[in-house]
């Protein structure tokens, strides 16, 4: 594996082996005082973030450091990007400076694919850095989908045949897109529930069911993944409650239709799990009591995120170059 750009590039065997590697890494580090493996000694991992992030950047940095890679963080603020440098020049600079892996988050869909294509360029003799997509616009966020799958496997034992709901702002969600693809590849039955205004064009072709009424679906689910309403990405004329721009009338209205309340939690089967990719907006898509309940796996997702990202770095950087 040279790059990780999209969950659509992962077949079931590759995805499963990434999840298995993550499990093994967790075992290898379990109960140890020293969280350090020598595996990626001398490899350089650069995180290049054009958008804000806590979880993803921190867990990639921890993952790299725990495997003894040298990790360097570049954020658009405070780098040459602020002086007007193009993505292509920034990527070429990082490659020339000796990065073995560039982890990129960018507001434009497809940015990671572009960087990966340039990484094959003549100037680098085809040996440019590996590229990991850490979120590109509203397109994909593959490591998030992998850590969600790891968490579901921990909590439910397996993924094949499980019924999983994804609820909320699917339109702006790269997490939803990556998850639908990966979970379908792993054999889960995925249902999207969202208001019609928050579904992307072409969602009918995704490997999942699409519904609009949450209450009817809840009793059949083994797990539910709540999505954040990404109001900062909403575009269009201002509606009655300005920042929601007509996608839905108000936060309260949204919570009534699509928020995971205490009442809705009790409609889920007893064994079911609640996931949220974070950051959570409590009271909007998820009620505070639900977010803090033992059924919610939010912090387990973050912990798995470190092991899954270690597994990705291991698969990209540890073996012989292709």
């Amino acid at each position: 594996m040279k790059h990780l750009l999209s969950t659509a590039d992962l077949d079931a065997a590759t995805a499963t082996s990434l999840l298995d590697t993550a499990d093994r890494l967790r075992q290898a580090l379990l109960g140890r005082e020293v969280h350090k493996l020598p595996t990626l000694r001398g490899r350089t991992v650069v995180t290049l973030f054009y958008e804000d992030s806590t979880r993803t950047r921190v867990s990639f940095e921890i993952a790299g450091k725990w495997m003894s890679a040298d990790t360097i963080n570049v954020s658009a603020k405070g780098s040459s990007v602020a002086k007007g440098e193009s993505l292509r020049d920034t990527a070429a600079t990082l490659a020339a400076a000796g990065a073995d892996c560039v982890i990129i988050r960018h507001p434009s869909s497809g940015a990671a694919h572009r960087v990966a294509a340039w990484s094959k360029g003549d100037a680098l003799d085809g040996r440019g850095p590996s590229v990991v997509n850490a979120g590109d616009g509203t397109h994909e966020h593959p490591t998030q989908a992998l850590l969600d799958a790891a968490t579901l496997r921990d909590r439910l034992g397996s993924i094949a045949g499980k019924r999983i709901g994804i609820v909320g702002d699917v339109l702006h969600s790269r997490v939803a897109r990556s998850n639908v693809t990966l979970l379908a590849t792993l054999g889960a039955e995925v249902t999207l529930v969202a208001p019609p205004t928050l579904l992307p064009v072409g969602v009918g072709d995704w490997p999942c069911r699409v519904r609009h009424h949450l209450d009817a679906e809840l009793p059949g689910w083994d797990a539910v993944m709540m999505l954040r309403v990404q109001a900062e990405r909403f575009a269009g004329p201002a509606g009655p409650e300005g920042r929601f721009r007509g996608f839905f009338p108000s936060a309260r209205e949204y919570a009534i239709g699509y928020g995971l309340s205490d009442r809705r939690l009790s409609m889920l089967p007893g064994h079911s799990v609640v996931l949220h990719p974070g950051p959570m907006v409590r009271g909007m898509e998820i009620a505070p009591a639900v977010a803090d309940s033992p059924r919610a796996a939010v912090l387990q997702q973050v912990r798995n995120g470190v092991h899954v990202r270690m597994a990705v770095l291991y698969h990209l950087l540890a073996g012989a170059p292709q």
Partner: protein, 204 residues
């Protein structure tokens, strides 16, 4: 140069020559268990001081068998676990990505215990070196010993085994293959010529 053929009696057999039969494997495991008991003065009091750590894949079932044999012979069970040293190997960059195997240390860890590493074949010694490095990150054993089913020579590092089931002089172009019921469905040790006889980093 003629390849250093060993007395085998038969023609080059694609299935390989049997070095140890199923009953040989059972006897060898029992003998190593006795040697461990003798060398470590193993008794009920020592049970908590000794930990057998198998190196996956086939060292892991061997460690479990040795643990069971020791507990049959003495009535006291040593700690048994597995230790995957893949992340500590020095040849990761020379091969396609290796998949990782489970690691499970026994309750109580390895601090101040006598750790006996268990593997099927001792060859270059590099796996054992990686395991020693991995151990260092898991704790500080009182001492570390090594038990192997087959020692086939060709060491590349100053490493030797404390318990050896069978010494087998081999050429680098040969492959020693240990099959165990838990992994392969049957117990046997085979010697075969490596078809892609490439001296560097052949089998294990």
């Amino acid at each position: 140069m003629a390849s250093p053929r060993r007395a085998r009696g038969d023609q080059a057999d694609p299935a390989g020559t049997e070095l140890l039969s199923a009953s040989d494997v059972a006897r060898t495991v029992a003998r190593i268990a006795h040697q461990i008991i003798e060398k470590t003065s193993f008794d009920a009091g020592a049970a908590t001081r000794v930990v057998l750590l198998g190196l996956p894949t086939r060292g892991a079932p061997l460690a479990r068998r040795l643990g069971a044999a020791i507990s049959d012979f003495t009535g006291a069970a040593p700690g048994v676990g597995t230790l995957d040293a893949t992340l500590y190997r020095d040849d990761l960059r020379r091969r396609p990505t290796r998949s990782l195997e489970p690691t499970a240390l026994p309750e109580g860890g390895i601090d101040d215990r006598l750790v006996i590493l268990v593997d099927d074949v001792l060859f270059s010694g590099r796996t054992v070196r990686a395991a020693l490095d991995a151990l260092r990150d898991h704790g500080r054993p009182r001492a570390v010993q090594l038990a192997v089913l087959v020692d086939r020579g060709h060491r590349e590092l100053p490493i030797r085994a404390d318990y050896v089931g069978k010494n087998v002089p081999t050429s680098r172009a040969e492959q020693v293959e240990v099959l165990l019921t838990e992994v392969d469905g049957r117990d046997t040790v085979l010697l075969r010529r490596d078809p892609g006889a490439d001296t560097a980093g052949a089998a294990r």
